[in-house]
């Protein structure tokens, strides 16, 4: 009887495996993986490339503004005041006879530095804090999260106006203030997307291979969070540019006569300028609109493209 049972039991296991001969499943796997790889290559589309072109033009023009054959942005040509676009002044001049193209290009520097600089600060500080906070969890996480909420509860534009009024309006100060202001928001976004991965098994698997917490955070979690974080950062850059524009419109950004898109729009829309010479505010407004649209588009398409998880799993 016991022998029967042993036979029956081990026999059962053997039977289970009897008709399972290791097949050549691997061969067909090759085909599958190739097919999957092929499906992923979706073109980014003409609109994406137009957006990249516009951002590229703005960035390059801003960087090399000094080398371009432009009049100084503050040079006043008294014989050409409030002119429309012409050969001498491609985009026209303002009420003080300053070349609008030159002011537009030099003004782009302010927008770009504030936009990318402040979000870089926010990403480095807020992003690392979000990663660490989500990984640690518990009391640390609750405290940091609560702290972020307190800062978020404060109306940002009011805080900005108050701080700039006391502290001054130098470009680096504006950048730093907007950057600090973006920390809690980026912290929240990065923390939230990290939380989705912290309890995944690959984190435990990395621990089981002897990875240190720092290694897990930056080698395992960061690559997963990066697409979402970068795409949010793009939106953040757009937001920061708008915020600087708002401040400039209120006269609280970089001091005049340094051009910025925001103070150009302000100049062009006050003192009845809008009726006399619409170009003063039209060019910076169009440029800013296109820049914001392009940045958002690029962020969105890049996320779709590089999000391995979204497209495949």
């Amino acid at each position: 009887m016991p022998d029967d049972r042993e036979l029956a039991a081990t026999g059962a296991a053997a039977e289970l495996l009897a008709d399972i001969t290791p097949g050549d499943a691997a061969l067909s796997e090759e085909a599958v993986s190739l097919a999957v790889a092929g499906a992923r290559r979706r073109p980014l589309g003409i609109i994406f490339w137009l957006a990249v072109t516009w951002v590229g033009i703005v960035v390059i023009a801003a960087i090399f503004a000094n080398l371009l054959p432009l009049a100084h942005p503050n040079f006043q040509n008294y014989s050409a005041i409030n002119t429309g676009p012409s050969i001498h002044h491609l985009l026209g001049t303002d009420d003080l006879g300053r070349d609008l193209l030159s002011r537009l290009i030099f003004g782009a520097r302010v927008s770009l530095v504030v936009g990318f600089g402040s979000i870089a600060i926010g990403m480095i500080v807020g992003g690392s804090a979000g990663l660490v906070s989500a990984y640690l969890g518990g009391g640390w996480d609750a405290t940091m999260n609560g702290f972020a909420f307190v800062i978020l509860a404060f109306p940002q534009i009011l805080a900005l106006i108050a701080i700039t009024a006391f502290w001054g309006t130098a470009l680096w100060k504006i950048t730093l203030i907007i950057g600090i202001g973006s920390i809690p928001l980026i912290f929240r976004v990065v923390r939230a997307s990290t939380l989705a991965f912290v309890n995944r098994e690959f984190v435990v698997a990395a621990r089981a291979l002897g990875a240190s917490p720092a290694r897990i955070i930056f080698r395992e979690l960061l690559p997963n969070v990066l697409p979402a974080a970068l795409s949010f950062a793009m939106i953040g850059v757009a937001g920061a540019i708008v915020l600087e524009g708002t401040l400039a419109f209120l006269g609280l950004s970089v001091p005049l006569p340094t051009p910025s898109w925001g103070n150009m729009i302000a100049e062009g829309s006050t003192n009845g300028q809008l009726q006399q010479n619409i170009y003063i505010m039209l060019w910076p407004a169009i440029s800013m609109f296109l820049l914001l649209l392009s940045i958002n588009l690029i962020g969105d398409r890049l996320r779709q493209r590089f999000d391995v998880r979204e497209s495949l799993v």
Binding site: A14, G23, E30, V36, A205, L209, R219
Partner: protein
């Protein structure tokens, strides 16, 4: 195969004398808002070098927690662990996080249940394998890459060089599990904990993966703890089988002994629930009615009593201790053990809530 990191910390002098791993009265409790879950409640087992111990039990019997608890791979909060885990002469439970990190990988490694989630989806396979090689064995990039390709080859992945550049999502389930095995074995561990390594795979691939594990184990003289819910899986592969129920060991014996002479009705019930090809079609599978008990509030007495067809009053009143049967290596916990497959207590009309 490869030089082992921290080999000094684990002297080879005792290599053959002691068992590689001794788990003594291990307890793992989770404090939850609902109460304390006694997921692992006083488990002892030993693993000798190069052998395989199968841990078998239903879902929710604490198998996975046991394997993570042995490694020390538990969440940091609301967890209580007691007992000792002696690996090659050192107690893992008293080690610092830093010391443990030097053990995990080169000494003890784990193969995870679900290859879909246990691989990082945004990192290339090559990076995931080479990482531990570079961290623990201090290989340079080129050497690690060559080793990784050799590892992939040894787990039966065709054109390994090409696969190193693939993302996990580009591989099939079976391939991913092979990659998982390659990662776990990369640093040449002496003990592998395989936590249901084939559950996520279809049956044909299951057999391939288990055979692969077996042959790699022989090659490397690795010990293995094979955790599974399927007695059929361990029947041909484990040297010793530990049957778990509700966080406790209910029976433990060398494989042939266990199959020849199961003492615990639960073990017997598990065996009966293996489907057999020799049975005529239409035969009802003998399932175990009911569900494992709630580990917050386990039943008094024998934990299997509410589902046991032979449960008596004594079973519901006091808990049977683990005692030996016949030989010293066959342990079981039952007041009315089966003898030669026959129950020693009358069949009772046990009320089981299905």
């Amino acid at each position: 195969m490869s030089p082992r990191d921290g080999a000094d910390a684990f002297p080879d002098a005792t290599e053959l004398a002691d068992p590689l791993l001794t788990v003594d009265d291990l307890r793992t409790w989770f404090h939850t808002p609902r109460g304390t879950v006694r997921a692992v409640d006083g488990i002892s087992l030993t693993v000798r070098r190069g052998t395989t111990v199968g841990v078998v039990g239903e879902s929710g019997s604490g198998k996975t927690v046991l394997s993570r608890s042995i490694m020390g791979l538990l969440p940091t909060r609301d967890v209580e662990r007691a007992g000792t885990v002696t690996f090659a002469g050192r107690d893992l439970t008293t080690m610092s996080a830093k010391e443990l990190r030097s053990v995990w990988g080169p000494q003890i490694a784990m193969i995870f249940q679900d290859p879909m989630t246990a691989l990082n989806p945004v990192k290339r396979v090559g990076a995931q394998i080479t990482e531990s090689l570079r961290l623990h064995l201090h290989m340079d990039r080129k050497e690690a890459r060559a080793t990784a390709a050799a590892l992939l080859d040894s787990v039966g992945i065709p054109s390994p060089e090409k696969r190193l550049r693939a993302y996990p999502s580009q591989l099939s389930g079976g391939m991913r599990q092979r990659v998982m095995i390659a990662i776990a074995l990369a640093c040449g561990p002496r003990l592998v904990l395989a936590d249901e390594p084939t559950t996520g795979l279809d049956v044909t691939i299951q057999a391939q993966i288990l055979d692969l594990l077996g042959s790699l184990q022989d090659e490397r003289n690795m010990a293995m703890i094979l955790v599974t819910h399927d007695l059929g899986v361990v029947a041909t592969r484990a040297d010793e089988i530990v049957v778990m129920y509700a966080g406790k060991v209910v029976e433990r014996a060398p494989t042939p002994t266990l199959f020849a002479d199961p003492k615990m009705p639960y073990t017997r019930a598990l065996m009966d629930s293996i489907p057999r090809l020799s049975q005529p079609s239409g035969t009802r599978l003998a399932a175990i009615a009911g569900r494992p008990p709630d580990l917050v509030d386990p039943p008094q007495g024998c934990r299997f009593a509410p589902r046991c067809p032979y449960a008596q009053d004594r079973c519901r009143e006091s808990e049977p201790p683990l005692r030996t049967a016949g030989s010293a290596d066959h342990l079981f916990a039952c007041w009315f053990p089966l003898t030669n497959g026959r129950p020693s207590a009358p069949l009772t009309n046990n009320e089981v809530t299905p």
